[in-house]
Amino acid sequence: MNSHDAQFILRARRPGERDAQDPLFAEALAEVEKDPRLKAWHEREQRTDAAIAAKFAEIAPPPELRAAILAGARASRPRAGGWKMAPWLAAAAAVAVLLTVTVVQLGRPAPPQGDALTAVALRELITAHGDHDAEPPALAALQIRLASAVGSFPERIELRPDDLRRQGCRAFRVGGREVFELCFRRDGIWYHLYVAPATGPDRGVSFESAGQFAAASWQRGAVAYALATDAGRAALQRLL
């Protein structure tokens, strides 16, 4: 190994003693000890690298990022399941659920008509939405991402209907087009994202409400999105 080789290798050596055990660096450092000019260069190189690394370490992640990651992971945990009810309890529960659904449906607003994605989202949410436990495992990562995405959804979320279909995302057809639905929980509120292929120019966010049910839609690329919730428009706006 000559001085040029040693210099080349030592540029990959981290400042300090972290790479002390690496035999390649040991050989290059032996060369450094023989050459005062190389030694001076190496000391300067290490000081400079340490200074840059220290500056890099000063860059702090956004304060909410850690909490968002942990919250996202909690939201992704499989729910406890598999418990069995006694038949009488199951029957009683079924009656209770039926009564509850009836009462809730009676209190629900009239679903909007039309094929606009906000109307589709609200209609789906008001009349047909089922439970949230049926998402295929392949979509879990996406659900968590939605549950704690930072920033405005129209700016941050980019999904492809083809990918969603491949991943087994729940879908239904409205007016001849396939609409995919992803549900996620964020800050204790359930949100429902509807994604459908679209044509025409990009569109900004537009809102539609029906009672406490609110939906916002936008279009980016060849994809239309609608985000809906039953927690009111303010809850929706927090994500837009």
């Binding site: 690298d49 200074a51 992640p61 968002a68 992704s76 879990a140 968590i144």
Partner: protein, 180 residues
């Protein structure tokens, strides 16, 4: 260790480094935060199958890098990466004291201006969490390539740092003839 304890510990240990790496790649905080989150989401769904928790660090960095690549169509790379130009073999000296007085944001801005090919290993190098061997593993390139990219990346960065420390004055690599 209880699997429920592993995840918060991993987040605690690695999210700042992953965020900084993401920030150097993506060049804006929102994308960097998104990439960092996405990396942990993938861990939450797939990474826990990794039996050796000791390998989690390189797994996380590799995953973040792959996600970055997936989201970004890479530019064609036409540079001959393994041949250092004479100027890159002998970059201008950057004074550690001058760097020490610069704002971290300015140093980051310089790093973000380094071409991506060199910025990738350089950011991992300055995080100091990964050895050159681990950087090669994360970026899936040979060790020799990593070394030459680090050398070239450092040369680029020092020119940019010198430029920024002098308030934007353009400083070029020394010409071969000027060095003779």
């Amino acid at each position: 260790m209880n699997p429920d304890d592993v995840f918060p510990r991993l987040v605690e240990s690695h999210y700042p480094g992953l965020y900084r790496f993401a920030l150097s790649l993506a060049r804006n905080p929102a994308d960097a935060a998104d990439l960092t989150q996405q990396t942990f989401y993938i861990w939450a769904t797939k990474g826990q199958a990794l039996r050796e928790v000791g390998k989690a660090k390189t797994w996380l960095f590799t995953t973040l890098y792959r996600e970055f690549l997936r989201l970004r169509r890479r530019d064609a790379r036409t540079t001959a990466l393994e041949d250092l130009t004479p100027a890159e073999q002998d970059p201008p000296d950057a004074d550690a004291d001058v760097i020490g007085k610069m704002d971290a944001e300015l140093v980051l801005a310089a790093l973000q201006e380094v071409p991506l090919t060199f910025r990738e290993p350089l950011a991992l190098f300055y995080l100091q969490d990964l050895s050159y061997l681990e950087i090669a593993e994360v970026l899936e390139v040979p060790i020799g390539t990593i070394m030459s990219r680090l050398a070239r990346g450092k040369a680029h960065l020092r020119v940019l740092l010198a430029q920024k420390s002098r308030g934007g004055e353009v400083i070029e690599f020394p010409k071969k003839s000027a060095r003779a």
